[in-house]
């Protein structure tokens, strides 16, 4: 029992580090600012672990896991954007990188090229659903923060508007 828990903890640490590198490395390729590099990696790694926590036994995530992960990445990006004075996209793009379905898009085309149309349909739908989920997860958080900010701004402007 003890060793099982220890192993599971090690599993999490290993995947946390892998996701950390997996968010930092693509971020360097798209020229992120040096001061934000580690923060972006942290967001990606935490988001990955949030998704992993719902089902630690499989590395291929289902839609619900991806949704939870991206909502976390969205929240983290918006908070860090205010805290570190940078646009939220800078944290979002590296953060969602471990989830993006680039590989299933590739597998779709590969199956099409090999005349395996059933496989292509499976991979294609997988790609579509995953990218919709990621976009939706990020979108919900962005919309929420926008709404809150607009409300705050309206509150501040009220006295000057009413004169």
């Amino acid at each position: 029992m003890e060793s099982g828990r220890g192993l599971r903890f090690l599993h999490f640490v290993k995947l946390f580090l892998l996701a950390f590198i997996g968010s930092i490395a693509p971020a360097v390729a798209i020229n992120i600012e040096k001061r934000l590099l580690l923060w972006a990696g942290l967001g990606g790694a935490l988001g990955y672990c949030v998704a992993l926590a719902f089902n630690p036994y499989s590395l291929s995530f289902n839609i619900a896991q991806i949704f939870m992960g991206t909502v976390f990445v969205g929240l983290y990006s918006e908070l860090m954007a205010t805290y570190l004075k940078a646009p939220a996209t800078v944290f979002c793009i590296p953060g969602i990188f471990p989830f993006v379905p680039g590989v299933s898009a590739y597998q779709t085309v590969l199956s099409l090229a090999n005349n395996e149309f059933n496989q292509a349909a499976v991979y294609g739908l997988n790609t579509v659903f995953k990218s919709f989920t990621i976009a939706f997860g990020i979108m919900i958080v962005t919309a929420f923060f926008r709404f809150v900010r607009k409300q705050n701004k309206r509150g501040e402007n009220l006295p000057s508007n009413s004169k």
Partner: protein, 252 residues
């Protein structure tokens, strides 16, 4: 500042944002915010390959358009342009100062050639492992990633090549390198290695951004981005497939 100059600055900032991978709604919002802060009533329209902005000036209606030929994500430039647009709103600096700042942003330094290659290597290796590869697969992907990262800027930096040829060259290089690596390093799965190597190049983020544009109501840019992403995937797979089969022909 004159009204035409305001429009020019706003459009230049907007088009640079678009060129370096900002979302469509952010581009439109930035142009509108800059014009608003100078009390210029402006109507921007951005899509994936260009930006329009039209404003009512003293002499009538003025419309400017900027075509964007190449796109590439650059987070430093997005962050700095964002900061600049906020500064314009706050302080309203004069034309020359903004121009100088813009030039400075365009020239901002990027990571070195070696760091770029290493980033490709680590991405390839991590995702080869996460995709179910063994440690040897990850090691092979690391080597392939470094070489791919050294080759990639040669084609991507050359604006005289069509995007199609750039992606094809990338895919082809990934295919050849992966098959060589899987033969030289024992116990590697060429399929996993090639997927790891291609993770660097596959437009997963563009795909997600396309859906994001669609959800946001920017249908034109959404569909364009999705179409672009599909073409890129197809060309990469095409290049990789030809690379693999060429090596098999020669090797067998």
């Amino acid at each position: 500042m004159e009204q035409e100059q305001i429009l020019e600055i706003a459009l230049q900032i907007g088009s640079t944002l678009l060129q370096y991978g900002a979302e469509t709604y952010r581009v439109e919002e930035t142009i509108k915010r800059i014009c608003d802060s100078y009390d210029l009533n402006c109507e921007p329209f951005a899509f994936t390959t260009g930006v329009f902005a039209s404003a009512k000036v003293e002499k009538g209606i003025s419309t400017v358009f900027k075509r964007i030929s190449s796109r590439k994500v650059d987070l430093t430039k997005i962050a700095r342009l964002n900061a600049l647009s906020r500064r314009i709103q706050r302080e309203k600096p004069d034309y020359k100062e903004i121009k100088e700042e813009l030039d400075d942003i365009l020239k901002c330094k990027t990571y070195s050639y070696g760091a770029f290659a290493l980033s490709f290597a680590f991405t390839a290796s991590v995702y080869a492992y996460l995709f179910g590869g063994s440690y040897t697969d990850a090691f092979a992907a690391l080597i392939v990633g470094i070489l791919l990262g050294l080759i990639h800027p040669v084609f991507a930096g050359n604006s005289s090549l069509f995007p199609f040829i750039q992606y094809f060259a990338d895919g082809f290089a990934a295919g050849i390198l992966s098959s060589v690596a899987s033969i030289l390093i024992p116990l590697t799965d060429v399929y996993i290695v090639i997927i790891g190597a291609l993770t660097n190049l596959l437009p997963g983020v563009a795909l997600t951004n396309g859906v994001r544009d669609l959800l946001h109501g920017d249908n034109i840019s959404g569909v364009t981005r999705l179409g672009e992403a599909f073409i890129v995937v197809a060309v990469l797979a095409f290049g990789a497939g030809i690379g693999l089969s060429l090596w098999n022909l020669g090797g067998v």
